[in-house]
């Protein structure tokens, strides 16, 4: 075997697009290009952080390279110093230094004092930098003296042992002179000279992106940017031969890159992260404590612990102990206990529900033993990473209380939220590129208008969308626009905050990763996203906010207040009325099964048992849909297709899903049965299934599976089918346990809708916005169930909606737009002290401003004091009221009684209701114009009488527009009228023809063909028009889920 030649050059100063608006490629691109050019290592030095370092590390690792860790620090005098982490201590120093500066600076900025750098210098190596560095940035103005001054500053801190004179050559004429001085400097101080290319992009075409980002940074466009742009495209990764040729006169500068790379002993695999230790009493330990608590919980859950239960618990506890995860389970258990003590509803989701330990600790709510759930999906012998326990909490204040409790326990440098990397997508990319290429704003706006709520590449190609925006293909800059779009799409744009992922650490988290201020006060965020954290072994606890949990918890509280308490754990799981509701697809407001696709499947599924609901939740997911598994399952269930199995050995695995694999657990079990996969192999398969970022990993496991199947003597045809079934789950297949957790919430919410409808709708209304539908639609739905609503009223309404009696809901004052919460809460306080005797008494004692008074009067909230809305409007405009001078005005009563204004008409009331609250408690707006519509215009309920394939016309308010990624461009519209909701299907061609009408008009007239099948009615749209009538209010739909 030929001996591999020694590495000849290592790039030690490279940036990625995580140096926002500076670098022009992904860290992964750098790693791939380095591998291609046979560069064995590189250092990623992004600006003010390690944002891209985990990605560089993992990509490099996969490719057999090494990614050194560095950063470009911006100092208080704007000098930019590249710093490399030599040791773990150095890395930790850098993390702390960055955290200090980030937490005291506005978002996106960090300025470090030279003295602070000196205090944190241990374990670090500094380079003198490029044109922005402390030496060369002074060269144009201060010449040699400037360079020397900058050098002394660095040398004072880092001395000769930790400082390298960096030299870059980009084939620019003017760079030779300062470079000559740098060489002289290195010689006279006997410092090593280090060649780098100051890489900003992996390959030469990246220069274009770099120029675009430069323009964005300087708020200019390419025609005006002049010498701000790159002079050429030389700042890409170069081969050793190219670099050696470039520095032919300074070969030592190249050699030095190898020496320095060897010296950099730190890499992200030596991060030193440790999950917090759960405190125990002296003499006790975490393993013993966990065992005690699990068995105590088991006695509560099961009353008697059968040998089967004991065996499973012992197996799980043994594995947890061996893997050293006891502390983790105890900490999550502690968070759950906190929630219980604070009366905050909590439920573990995801694969944790496969664990009997989690069930016994109260973390999850479903029994995995009776459900025969696969524990290996959660934890297995081969597992190195931490198990994933996600907690669902009621969204809003209650979830924030839990987050703040974690900050309190672990300190603001011991816990932080994970980041969310916001990337350039269609509209944002075109907007930025268009600006920089100097395209007219009108064209860019038209482009955005064509996708008003996101990117929809399914049917409209980029070229067509540009053409429709007024940018023709033969426009001289159109090729550049398209090319840049391809290059920029998917690059990181800025860092946001993950909705619920929190990381905690034993000791200081700011030694592991730099922390920054989040935009929400009181929160800090790490520089890495959840996938980065997971890959680096940093454990995160997902505290996810679910609006439905908040609504359910509120409903339970209301039920208790109304003396009809309910315990969700004890509700019957086979309630016929609840399943009737589901079979009728009457599920607006019900968790998970309220979407159009779910509602279309429910009448076919006809759920009658809890497990049917579990399947229903899981089946309308991209995995089963793309894998074309949903339809066969429903056909088999209806008896229209025989139940068959890929192999008889899979009968026990697939029996309960009629031979179709629907859950991730089944896929794992299939691999275990058919391919004799071990625990660690199953773990790799699980990762490949859930970690959608790595196609490489997925393919590797597929090959492994195929080989194992072949070795197990499985025939090629069956092998193929097994692999195909498993591959379908690469796209978001649900774990069965997760589906069970969600099905429990879905069942609970459906049960509440049927039996506790007042509490259910009140809970929903008080937690808006959430779910698929607006408050207006929920109210219409509730009215169809016989509930009556009362408008917000200052005499008896509260801040939130309340239940004044049987089948009645009173809307809360919270719903009033532009009426402040402080003034409303103050009003409620003084009302409790003494009720208002008149409108003048009300105005005198409250703190509402004239504009708020107008809203209250318009919405009818003052009717109880003034008689009607117009009388109230008349009264609140009185100068006596507005001057708060009621006692001195002898005509007060006269003003109150003599109202010359006409009471509002029905139409006016509906308009004002929508303007002031976004809802109406009166009739649906469509009823107002029904008489003016042609007779052939059907209502939603009329569709039942229409024959299949008949041509109908229908009109209504658009309450929901959906364009699922799996529907190949088909759009689903829900059209609401005074009788109910009609379902419309719009095919891509029609959507493109009427795209803007569909996405922007609140009311539509739709002509199409009735499609009736298995209890569902759809209209296939043939013509779509806006419905324009002055009586109709502006609607608010929840769109494009």
């Amino acid at each position: 075997m030929a001996r591999k030649s020694p590495p000849a050059y290592i790039e030690l100063h490279a940036s990625s697009a995580f140096s926002f608006l500076r670098g022009a490629c992904k860290p992964e691109d750098l790693a791939r290009q380095a591998a291609k050019l046979e560069i064995p290592a590189f250092a990623l030095c992004d600006r003010d952080g390690f944002y891209g370092s985990p990605r560089a590390h993992h990509s490099a690792q996969e490719l057999g390279l090494k990614a050194h860790v560095g950063t470009e620090l911006v100092l208080s005098d704007q000098s930019v110093v590249p710093i490399l982490a030599e040791t773990q201590e150095g890395y930790r120093n850098l993390c702390r230094l960055l955290t200090i500066s980030k937490l005291r600076s506005p978002k996106g900025e960090a300025h470090i004092d030279w003295e602070e750098l000196a205090e944190h210098k241990k374990g670090l190596i500094a380079l003198t930098g490029d044109l922005e560095g402390p030496l060369l940035r002074k060269w144009p103005h201060a010449g040699t003296q400037g360079i020397e001054a900058g050098f002394k500053q660095l040398h004072r801190i880092f001395g000769s042992q930790h400082l390298y004179v960096e030299i870059q050559r980009h084939r620019i004429r003017d760079e030779d002179i300062p470079n000559k001085l740098l060489v002289e400097l290195a010689t006279s101080f006997d410092l090593p000279l280090l060649a780098t290319n100051g890489v900003r992009y992996a390959t030469p075409p990246g220069r274009r992106v770099c120029d675009v980002f430069t323009c964005l940074r300087h708020h200019t466009h390419l025609d005006a940017a002049g010498r701000l742009l790159q002079a050429n495209h030389e700042r890409h990764l170069k081969t050793a031969a190219e670099m050696r040729a470039l520095f032919a006169d300074l070969p030592k500068a190249i050699e030095e890159t190898l020496h320095l790379s060897e010296r950099l002993e730190f890499s992200l695999k030596d991060l030193g992260y440790a999950f917090p230790i759960y405190p125990t009493e002296p003499g006790d330990n975490m393993d013993a404590l966990l065992r005690r608590e699990v068995y105590a919980g088991a006695r509560r859950r099961y009353q008697t612990i059968s040998p089967k239960i004991r065996k499973q618990l012992d197996y799980e506890l043994g594995l947890i102990q061996r893997l050293g995860f006891s502390g983790y389970f105890l900490i999550v258990w502690d968070i759950v206990r906190f929630c219980e003590n604070e009366h905050i509803m909590v439920q573990g989701r995801g694969s944790a529900a496969n664990s009997a330990v989690c069930y016994c600790l109260g973390i999850t709510a479903c029994d995995p033993i009776s459900g025969k759930l696969l524990f290996e999906r959660f934890l297995s012998e081969g597992r190195k990473a931490w198990p994933d326990i996600d907690l669902d909490l009621p969204s809003g204040d209650r979830r924030e209380r839990v987050i703040q409790e974690i900050y309190r326990r672990y300190g603001h440098t011991g816990a932080a939220m994970t980041a969310n990397v916001i990337k350039y997508r269609g509209r944002s990319a075109i907007r930025e590129i268009g600006k920089v290429l100097n395209f007219p704003e009108e064209a860019i706006s038209r482009f955005s208008a064509l996708s008003p709520r996101g990117d929809y590449p399914h049917t409209l190609e980029l070229e067509n969308q540009l053409e429709q925006s007024g940018i023709r293909a033969d426009h001289p800059r159109a090729p550049a626009l398209k090319k840049l779009y391809e290059q920029i799409y998917g690059l990181p744009r800025h860092l946001g905050q993950h909705s619920g992922g929190m990381v905690i650490c034993q000791g200081r988290l700011d030694s592991i990763v730099p922390l920054e201020n989040a935009s929400m006060p009181g929160r800090s965020v790490v520089q890495w996203d959840k996938d980065d954290c997971e890959q680096l072994g940093i454990i995160k606890v997902d505290l996810l906010g679910l609006g439905m949990m908040a609504a359910i918890q509120d409903a339970i509280t209301l039920a208790s207040e109304r003396k009809r308490p309910i315990d969700l754990a004890k509700i019957p799981k086979d309630d016929p009325a609840t399943y009737d509701l589901m079979c009728a697809a009457d599920t607006i407001g019900v968790f998970q099964i309220e979407s159009r696709a779910q509602m279309a499947t429910l009448p076919r599924m006809k759920p009658r048992h809890f497990y049917d609901l579990v399947v229903e939740v899981a089946i309308i997911r991209p995995g089963p849909i793309v894998g074309q598994l949903a339809h066969p399952y429903l056909e088999r269930r209806a008896g229209k297709e025989p139940i068959t199995y890929i192999d008889q050995r899979l009968v026990p695995v697939l029996e309960r899903t009629l031979g179709i694999p629907l859950f991730q657990e089944q896929v794992l079990k299939m691999a275990m049965v058919m391919a004799n996969f071990s625990g660690s192999q199953a773990e790799r398969l699980r990762k490949a299934l859930s970690f959608h970022r790595s196609e490489v990993l997925m393919n590797r496991v597929k090959t492994e599976l195929e080989t194992a199947l072949a070795a197990n003597g499985i025939e090629p045809e069956i092998r193929e089918r097994v692999v195909a079934a498993i591959s379908s789950f690469a796209l978001y297949g649900f774990p069965e346990s997760h589906a069970i957790s969600f099905a429990m919430l879905a069942y609970s919410s459906a049960y509440l809708k049927v039996h506790y409808s007042e509490e259910f709708y009140t809970g929903l209304l008080n937690n808006q916005p959430m779910g698929f539908y607006s408050a207006a639609t929920l109210i219409q739905d509730a009215k169809r169930r016989g509930l009556r609503f009362e408008a917000p009223c200052v005499k008896n309404a509260s801040w939130l909606a309340t239940i004044p009696g049987e089948k009645r809901i009173r809307l809360g004052l919270k719903m009033l737009k532009n009426v402040g919460k402080p003034s409303t809460l103050h009003m409620l306080e003084i009302r409790d002290e003494q009720p208002f005797s008149s409108i003048f008494d009300f105005c005198r004692r409250t703190r509402f401003n004239p504009s708020e008074l107008r809203v209250l009067a318009s919405a009818g909230a003052l009717n109880a004091l003034a008689g009607d809305r117009r009388s109230a409007l008349w009264a609140v405009e009185s100068s006596s009221i507005q001057a708060n001078d009621l006692f001195n005005n002898p005509n007060t009563e006269l003003i109150e009684t003599n109202t010359p204004l006409q009471p509002m008409s029905w139409q006016e009331r509906v308009q004002t209701d929508f303007a002031t609250t976004g809802v109406t408690v009166g009739a649906h707006p469509m009823r107002q114009i029904r008489n003016s519509l042609p007779r052939h215009m059907r209502r939603a309920t009329d569709l039942e009488q229409c024959s299949n394939d008949s041509f109908v016309a229908i009109a209504g308010a658009v309450i929901c527009r959906q364009r699922p990624g799996t529907a190949r461009g088909v759009v689903f519209i829900s059209l609401e009228d005074e009788t109910g909701v009609a379902n419309i299907i719009v095919y891509p061609k029609m959507f493109e023809e009427r795209r803007l009408t569909i996405v922007s008009e609140p009311f539509l007239k739709i002509y199409g063909i009735v499609q009736k099948a298995e209890g569902t009615i759809h209209i296939k749209a043939r013509r779509i028009e806006p419905m324009l009538a002055p009586e109709l209010p502006a609607g608010a739909s929840h769109d494009f889920h």
């Binding site: 742009l229 704003e441 706006s445 208008a449 405009e877 922007s1000």
Partner: protein
């Protein structure tokens, strides 16, 4: 009697009349053409497509994909407003610009003009300006204004004020937005309904602004028009009774114009920045010349001399039938020079010299060389010569030159270069050839990659056996000798 000239959708009409695309089927005006801008005004074609003010531009496109979207342009509005004001002033000297696009004229004293005839005249004139207008005649200024704001007919004569006010929408009286919002909430849609409410109650709620609106709505209020004096235009013109074919009478008239215009400038405390002379010719297109003055002045002698010089040696193809001279005024500079700053001693003579030089070398070949803001080597442009010394001070300090100076070949000479191991090894030109003994480079530069004018240039410094050092370059057009060092 009062008349109101109203241009519905004034801002949009102002914008459309200057649109080179001509008549547009559906057009809307927005404040600026950004993502979610709202429609401010819509023309009739757009309204027919249910595009109304207040919609988002996205909704407008949804309702008519061919709708054209225009951003508001204040400059065109001002120009249009000036033209309309002149039109109204030609009818009555007592004309008020109530707001842009609405002009109310007091016709007392010019009653001999029949309203309908006058209206037709106004309509014809506004059409010639490219505007669609409405004209209203009413006994009071307020009624004329209300009529203009509320009517959709092109000519409206209000002879029964009470009946008109009864159904006139409240918006016609332009109440302040807060008052209008309350009236809408009250369900008050017409001025007639508004005046049904006792004035005391209105006064108590809305104070003076409510009372004033109420009185206006009753049609009782007589107000004075706010007349603004016509601003000087610094424009003189004359249609000649007999065509001129010699220079002397022409210069005589021009001298008179210059004297009058300089007087106007002095009264307005302004100076002339440039002059535009236009001569209408018999059977030929008019002759025009714009003269940019080297320094703003208002000396009649100098201005006349400049004009006289501009007419020297000009042969007109036809006799002159109309003379027009317009001066663009400018405010005197408020800046005081520093003690050591100075203007050129005689900018007029300097300008004259430059003009003479330009006549010899061509206008494109004279000026101050300025480096273009680009990485492209040797990219300069000739900027117009400045007439004050301080303008010549360089904007930014240039770094000290390093190494021997480069004597550039302009334009660069095409050469033949042989390469050895990717480096130049032999040079051959018409006058020069030899082996290259040393090289420095390459120096790469490229730019304008986003355009068809993409360029890329590679430069080398080379030394020949004669020890001379040269700069050569390679681009898509081949090899060039850029210059010689030393």
């Amino acid at each position: 009697m009062f008349s109101a000239l109203h241009i519905p959708g004034f801002a949009l009409q102002s914008r459309l009349r200057l649109d080179p695309a001509g008549l547009t089927p559906a057009a809307i005006l927005v404040e600026d053409v950004t993502k979610n801008s709202l429609v401010l005004e819509a023309n009739t074609a757009a309204r027919n497509q249910k595009i109304i003010p207040g919609l988002s531009s996205t909704q407008a496109i949804a309702r008519d994909p061919s709708v054209r979207i225009f951003a508001r342009c204040l400059a065109t509005e001002i120009r249009t407003a000036q033209s309309l004001q002149h039109l109204c002033l030609s009818i009555s000297p007592t004309t008020e610009e109530t707001r842009r696009g609405l002009y109310i004229s007091d016709l007392r004293g010019v009653e001999k003009l029949q309203p309908k005839a006058l209206a037709r005249h106004i309509l014809k004139e506004t059409e010639s300006l490219g505007l669609a207008s409405q004209t209203v005649f009413a006994p009071t200024a307020d009624l004329a204004e209300f009529g203009a704001q509320s009517s959709t007919s092109r000519i409206l004569i209000i002879d029964n004020p009470q009946a008109f006010l009864e159904s006139c929408p409240t918006t016609a009286a332009s109440p302040n937005p807060e008052l209008l919002e309350v009236l809408n909430l009250w369900g008050i849609q017409t001025l007639g309904a508004f005046t049904q409410i006792p004035i005391e109650a209105i006064s108590e709620r809305f104070g003076e602004s409510g009372r004033e609106l109420w009185e206006r709505a009753m049609g009782r209020k007589r107000r004075l028009l706010l007349v603004q004096p016509e601003s000087p235009h610094f424009h003189e013109s004359l249609d000649l009774e007999y065509p001129l074919s010699t220079l002397e009478p022409l210069l005589f008239i021009i001298r008179r114009f210059v004297d009058d215009l300089c007087r106007q400038l002095q009264q307005a405390h302004l100076l002339a920045a440039s002059m535009h002379l236009s001569l209408g010719l018999e059977d030929h297109p008019k002759w025009e010349n714009t003269i940019q003055l080297p320094e703003a002045i208002c000396w009649a002698d100098t201005l006349f001399a400049v004009l006289e010089k501009s007419l020297e040696d000009i042969q007109m193809p036809g006799a002159i039938i109309r003379i027009s001279l317009k001066i663009d005024p400018i405010e005197p500079s408020a800046q005081q020079r520093q003690i050591f700053e100075t203007s050129i001693k005689n900018p007029w003579r300097f300008a004259d010299t430059i003009d003479r030089l330009a006549a010899i070398v061509g206008e494109d070949n004279i000026g101050t060389p300025t480096r273009l803001d680009t990485h492209r080597p040797d990219s300069i442009k000739l900027s117009p010569l400045k007439h004050t010394l301080e303008d010549w001070i360089l904007e930014e300090p240039q770094p000290e030159p390093y190494g021997p100076p480069l004597k550039r070949c302009r334009p660069p000479q095409s050469i033949h270069v042989s390469l050895y191991l990717d480096r130049p090894s032999y040079l051959k030109t018409r006058k020069l050839q030899g082996r290259i003994i040393d090289t420095r480079g390459p120096f790469e530069a490229s730019g304008d990659w986003w355009d068809a004018q993409f360029w890329k240039q590679t430069e080398w410094d080379i030394q020949l056996e004669n020890k001379q050092v040269y700069r050569i370059s390679q681009s898509a057009k081949g090899w060039f000798l850029e210059g010689r060092y030393g």
